[in-house]
């Protein structure tokens, strides 16, 4: 047990051989680093890779396929024991099934590993930095380079980089929730307050976060020796949580597995009662399972999701959790931050007032000129004050950057003024150099003004110019005249009134207003040798000349209003949650459209009708601006009320804890809530949200860790892009699944007809696998590239309880309509092949037992010719190939019809999605290779099919297309009708 918290500063210095002022020497630090190792936790023993791998082998449909494989081996064993002629078929089938499971398992494992890697690389991308004093210098070092004895400085928002004994603090509070689970910030000081190192206030622990204040401390433990390193329980990661899409896929797996098992068992019973041998019945069961299970689908879904994730990353949404892609699409409420997300996160001059008139300035991100009227001499005077009475400076070496992008040393408003002046006047630094500063009083909170005195750049004018800016009312107090069109006029009450009106108006827009005034000091009183003393203020600071007002705001990002209106039409409620002042919040909300132009808050109505707020009918107000103070006193009931009854809500002056309450409130309404956040304190809300979105630029590590998605450009509009992609992928997954499910019927029917009508087997189990994992894979992925049908952002978010990924309509339409058509088409091909080779359909019925009998080598066909067993088998394989080819051909039609669910293919454009064509060509290409390339490998059961049989199913493919066009036409023509309800999936 350590006693570092009990030691005094000097004892500590001695113990760790360090110095509080100078820190360790680099050499010493390197030595200790070599001894102790890097300051990072040994990664917790994750689930062993092999366990993860095995888990992939039993998830989803794998169990069904394993059952199939085991049955195959059992029947192989039985046949081997009975000494049958060719028992190895079943052995191979079992092996193939096992291989399928293992390969898809490997694929899933690989995908998972890859996404884990993405996350890992993501956390590496932003390595934690620590501010360390070494060799008497402050240095930024990666946190894992810290060693015991290092002196580190921390400030609000930082993660504590190691266990630290604090030696200097200023209002420091830490959030120990990663250690204790309680997120209530605890204050930290240098005082030893408790015997227990965990309780004492002068130690801050590794991995906790500093919420506010600053502190300096000595590192006393690093890496695994830190308190948290010793707590083994850290290893337990976040529990397995199910995302909406995971639930949908599980639902889908249950559905398909249910169908597979029930049809399998049903036909097992039927075949047993039809006096088939048990062994044969088991083989049928395997076939039915294989036919029913879309083996390639889960892999396809993963690929589609990661494709979308990649696409979103390109649009600055970095998705940490693949399935979050879709969650974003079902979002119904977005709780957004204001600063940085909706706004540009920089003060910008928005309005000017001079000559009794308000001018608007351009606030866009890439301004290069200002359009307002700059001809008035008052503006010249004002611009001079703005330029001179300003301490902010550009960092050198940025001449080539656009003005708006340059880094400025100075506070936010001064920066805004500097950039504003630079845009209009050009080289500000040069102007300042020409008007040499002789004295200056910086801004402080008691004066509320800033003042400086300059020589003028006019060599004939020897007067000094005194310029001043500050809080408008304070500035006005000091003025006796006001400049109108360049002339000084006395400041009478009328002009003061005008000033008040302008000030109120600008203030009412939520803008920060500054007043500007100046005075040319008379040359006789202040000759150019005059010594100005800022302490005694030996110069006039009243009876100045008021020049004008400038107001600044953190302006909304130019893309945001459009994005908000997109959200609105997409049925997504955007709620602004900000710590800012209600007036500013409301102004920004109005300017971006979160509060629309026509809607009013209760207060607005009261003001308009001139009645007290209490008398207003709250139902009439569509908008609401809720103050954090009000929220504090609200019951959950009241909060629900507000969330329900107002469509446009702004929460202002809220604390991060209240953000959590708001998120919970939204979730109580059954909404899928997306929350944006950047601060450490947002992490609970980010975790609580259905999808947490952290800001990539402004966001703290903690927020990024808690979030599911990171917005690399901090831009709200990117969220909307994300929503669009999320909705698109949901739609496209529907299409993919519908596409994949359809052919299952065409694969299943052969078994059923085979059992019932005893015809030669139309399609082999191996052939089915070649469809499911061969021809069908690329086309189903190609559907993920399908563009949205026009209405994607004009409909309401998906109701996660009602709008399933695989709904009844989808399954029924795919299975019982298109699937049946495909089966008919494939069977026609099958019968055509057999008939043209000598077996007319009538001959085929009931022929199974003799057909499969090895002892019959003179089997008679419809024309009296006699066939050996092998000749029949070869014909059967030709039948498989024909069936396979027909399914492939009809799947092309299926692929085309699945491009849209409502619109006509011709509206969607047949050639817009090029990948679909890649899919179609790959599908046909693979089929050609299998038939003609591998047609001589007997084990695969493909034969080089006569070419004309490729076209037998074409009429049915066309029929599928036409039928689906008719379906879509009726859906469009009669929305809400019986047809729409039953045929739209």
């Amino acid at each position: 047990i350590q006693d570092d918290h009990k030691l005094s500063t000097s004892e500590l210095e001695e113990k760790y051989g360090t110095s509080i002022s100078k820190g360790l020497s680099s050499a010493r630090a390197a030595e200790i680093l070599a001894r102790d190792g890097p300051n990072s936790l040994t990664p917790p023993k994750a689930t062993p890779e092999i366990v993860k791998f095995l888990k992939q082998m039993v998830g989803g449909f794998s169990i069904l396929l394993w059952i199939g494989a085991v049955f195959s081996w059992i029947s192989f064993g039985i046949q081997l024991a009975q000494g049958a002629e060719s028992p190895f078929d079943n052995l191979y089938l079992g092996v193939v099934l096992a291989l399928v499971v293992i390969l898809t398992g490997i694929f899933a494992y690989y995908q998972e590993a890859k996404s884990t890697n993405i996350m890992a690389s993501f956390s590496k991308m932003i390595p934690q930095q620590a501010l360390v004093i070494r060799d008497a210098e402050k240095k930024e070092l990666p946190a894992d380079q810290l060693v015991v004895g290092d002196i580190v400085e921390i400030k609000g928002g930082d993660r504590i980089p190691a266990d630290i004994r604090l030696i200097f603090t200023q209002g420091c509070k830490v959030d120990n929730s990663s250690l204790t689970g309680e997120s209530e910030p605890q204050s930290r000081s240098c005082d030893f307050t408790h015997d227990n190192p965990l309780e004492t206030r002068n130690i801050a622990f590794y991995s906790t976060t500093c919420v506010e204040g600053t502190a300096t401390g000595i590192v006393i433990n690093t890496g695994d020796r830190t308190i948290i390193g010793r707590i083994a329980s850290l290893a337990s990661g976040v529990g397995n949580e199910k995302t909406p899409i995971a639930i949908e896929i599980e639902h889908f797996v249950y559905l398909v597995a249910g169908v597979a098992v029930s049809i399998g068992v049903l036909f097992f019973i039927i075949s047993v009662s039809m006096r088939y041998k048990i062994l044969d019945s088991i083989i049928f069961l395997i076939g039915i399972i294989v036919a029913n299970v879309p083996e390639g689908l889960l892999a396809t879904v993963t690929v589609s999701l990661s494709l979308t994730a990649k696409r979103m990353a390109k649009k600055n949404c970095l998705v940490k959790n693949l399935e979050a892609v879709e969650t974003l699409g079902s979002t119904s409420i977005i709780c957004s931050d204001k600063t940085g997300t909706l706004t540009q996160n920089r003060m910008t001059v928005a309005h000017l007032w001079f000559d009794n008139q308000i001018y608007s300035a351009d606030t866009s991100e890439d301004q290069t000129t200002q359009p307002f009227d700059q001809s008035s001499p008052s503006w010249t005077a004002l611009s001079k004050i703005v330029t001179l009475c300003n301490r902010a400076e550009f960092r050198p070496g940025q001449e080539n950057l656009p003005i708006m992008k340059r880094v400025v040393v100075g506070d936010a408003s001064e920066t805004a003024l500097l950039k504003f002046a630079e845009v209009i006047l050009g080289d500000v630094m040069n102007i300042r150099a020409r008007n040499k500063k002789v004295a200056e009083i910086p801004f402080n909170s008691t004066n509320k003004f800033q003042l400086s005195i300059h020589e003028t750049d006019d060599p004939n004018d020897k007067r000094f110019l005194l310029v001043m800016k500050g809080a408008p009312e304070r500035i006005l107090e000091r003025c006796s005249t006001i400049m109108i069109n360049g002339k000084e006029e006395p400041l009478d009450s009328e002009k003061a009134e005008a000033f008040q009106t302008a000030y109120m108006e600008l203030g009412g827009m939520g803008e920060r207003v500054l007043g500007f005034c100046h005075l040319y000091l008379p040359e006789n009183e202040f000759p150019d040798t005059y010594q100005f003393d800022t302490d005694s203020m030996n110069f006039p600071t009243s009876n100045l000349c008021f020049v004008g007002l400038l107001s600044m705001i953190d302006p909304p990002r130019s893309t945001v209003p459009d994005a908000v209106s997109k959200c609105r039409s997409a049925g997504i409620k955007v709620i602004m949650v900000t710590g800012d002042h209600p007036i500013t919040a409301k102004a920004i909300a109005k300017s971006v459209g979160i509060i629309s132009a026509t809607s009013e808050t209760v207060e607005d109505i009261a003001k308009r009708l001139n009645i007290p707020v209490e008398q207003v009918n709250r139902r009439e107000a569509t908008a609401a601006v809720v103050n954090g103070m009000e929220l504090k006193d609200m019951s959950l009931q009241q909060l629900d009320d507000i969330l329900c009854n107002h469509s446009e809500i702004v929460f202002a002056r809220t604390s991060p804890q209240q953000k959590l309450i708001i998120v919970e409130g939204c979730q109580r309404q059954g909404a899928v809530v997306a929350v944006t956040g950047d601060g450490v304190n947002d992490s609970p809300a980010l975790k609580k949200a259905d999808i947490g979105i952290a800001m990539g630029i402004a966001g703290s590590d903690a927020a990024k860790n808690a979030a599911d998605m990171v917005l690399l450009d901090d831009n709200f509009a990117s969220i909307v892009t994300g929503v669009e992609e999320g909705r698109l992928i949901f739609d496209n997954l529907k299409k993919t699944i519908a596409y994949t499910l359809t052919k299952n019927i065409a694969e299943l029917c052969p078994f059923l007809i085979y059992i019932i009508a005893s015809i030669p087997m139309p399609i082999g189990t191996i052939t089915i696998l070649f469809i499911d994992l061969g021809t069908d894979i690329i086309p189903s992925v190609a559907l993920a590239y399908e563009k949205a049908e026009s209405d994607i952002m004009n409909r309401r978010p998906r109701n996660k309880r009602k709008d399933r990924l695989v709904n009844e309509q989808l399954a029924v339409y795919s299975y019982l309509q298109i699937g049946i058509m495909q089966s008919v088409g494939a069977f026609v091909t099958y019968f055509t092949v057999y008939a043209e080779q000598g077996f007319l359909p009538s001959t085929l019925l009931g022929v199974r037992v003799d057909w499969e009998n090895n002892a019959i080598n003179d089997f008679e066909d419809s024309y009296g010719q006699e066939w050996t067993k092998y000749q029949r088998m070869y014909l059967q394989w030709t039948g498989y190939t024909a069936f396979f080819v027909s399914i492939t051909i009809q799947q092309v039609a299926d692929l085309i019809i699945r491009k849209t669910r409502r619109n006509s293919i011709f509206q969607q454009g047949l050639f817009r999605n090029k990948v679909i064509w890649v899919g179609i060509f790959s599908q046909i290409g693979i089929a050609l290779i299998l038939t003609y390339g591998l047609g001589h490998v007997t084990a695969l059961n493909f034969t080089p099919l006569r070419f004309q049989y490729w076209f037998v199913a074409v009429p049915f493919a066309i029929l599928i297309w036409v039928y689906d066009e008719v379906r879509k036409l009726f859906i469009r023509r009669y929305p809400g009708s019986w047809w729409d309800k039953n045929m739209y999936y």
């Binding site: 080779q837 080598n857 024309y863 066939w867 067993k869 039953n982």
Partner: protein, 303 residues
């Protein structure tokens, strides 16, 4: 990301299912009102009627296009299969094992032959004509009754010693059994290219396949190759039985046969014998098909 886990107990699930089957409030039966069920059933009924109609139409037009006399393609029937009578199949193909002193072991075999030959009695062959020419019997016109073509007679007498008439036991008790070799029918197949194809039976001389025969061979017992009597003479299939014009053209056609009588079978040894049909156009080297152009069988005669 928050969980959307809706844990339900079993009873809740049952309750939900019950409500799904019949929801008294909304009057939904399995998610639909009854009238809705009627509509949807009617729709599917109509849909399936149309689909069945389309299927029937397709098959009907298929039947209209196929030639009733001969198939469009004979892709798999390039070379005829060969079968053996009696045909007793064991685990690995034809196996004819019997004991000369136990007539129960060979009576079944004899019955098979006798039954097989009932199709070749003079009575059964009455519709067919006597042919004497030794060339292909090519018929371009329908000369037979009811628009058929004529077929040549093959009567079991032609098998002489193996006809079952002179020796009703087909030589089984003597250990010199008769077997009948039949070539599969293939429409418009001209075997032999003008020369009558003939049957040739030998031991299968292959180390692994036939150890016994191999041993015989190794011992320098070339003096005892397989001695076979072929009936008809030389074991030929007369060319006038070819070509076959199909069931519809030649309803009474019967395959010509060749009987083989093995004369010097070593007792108590399992022998593997192959009977090939030698003739142009008949191949017997298809590795996949053991019955194409040849028939292999195991023979073991015990005493």
């Amino acid at each position: 990301m928050a969980t959307l886990n809706e844990k339900k107990t079993c009873s809740e699930r049952m309750e939900n299912f019950r409500r799904f089957v019949w929801n008294p409030e909304t009057k939904l039966f399995m998610g639909r009102t009854l009238i809705n069920w009627v509509w949807i059933s009617l729709y599917y009924l109509a849909f399936y009627v149309v689909m069945s109609g389309l299927f029937a139409l397709s098959i009907y037009s298929l039947m209209r296009t196929v030639n009733p006399y001969e198939p469009d393609y004979q892709d798999q029937l390039k070379s005829p299969g060969v079968t053996l009578r009696p045909d007793v199949y064991g685990d690995r193909g034809l196996q004819i094992y019997y004991n000369v002193s136990d007539n129960k072991t060979w009576e079944g075999l004899v019955t098979t032959l006798r039954t097989f030959l009932t199709a070749y009695t003079p009575a059964a062959q009455r519709p067919n004509i006597n042919c004497t020419s030794d060339t292909y019997f090519i018929q371009d016109t329908f000369d037979g009754p009811n628009k058929t073509k004529l077929s040549c007679k093959f009567i079991s007498d032609m098998l002489q010693n193996c006809s079952g008439i002179t020796d009703p036991t087909f030589g089984f008790p003597e250990g010199k059994p008769c077997f009948i070799i039949k070539m599969n029918r293939i429409i418009k197949f001209f075997p032999g290219n003008g020369t009558a194809p003939r049957v040739d039976c030998t031991y299968v001389v292959s180390v692994r396949a036939n150890r016994a025969a191999f041993l015989l061979y190794k011992q320098g017992d070339e003096t005892r190759p397989l001695e076979v009597d072929y009936y008809p003479v030389n074991g030929t299939f007369n060319l006038h039985y070819f070509p076959y014009y199909g069931k519809k053209s030649q309803p009474s056609y019967s395959n010509p046969l060749v009987a083989v009588k093995f004369l010097n079978i070593t007792r108590n040894v399992e022998l593997k014998i192959v009977c090939k049909i030698i003739g142009a156009g008949i191949t017997f080297d298809n590795v996949h098909d053991p019955y194409e152009g040849k028939v292999e069988f195991k023979l073991k005669i015990e005493d």
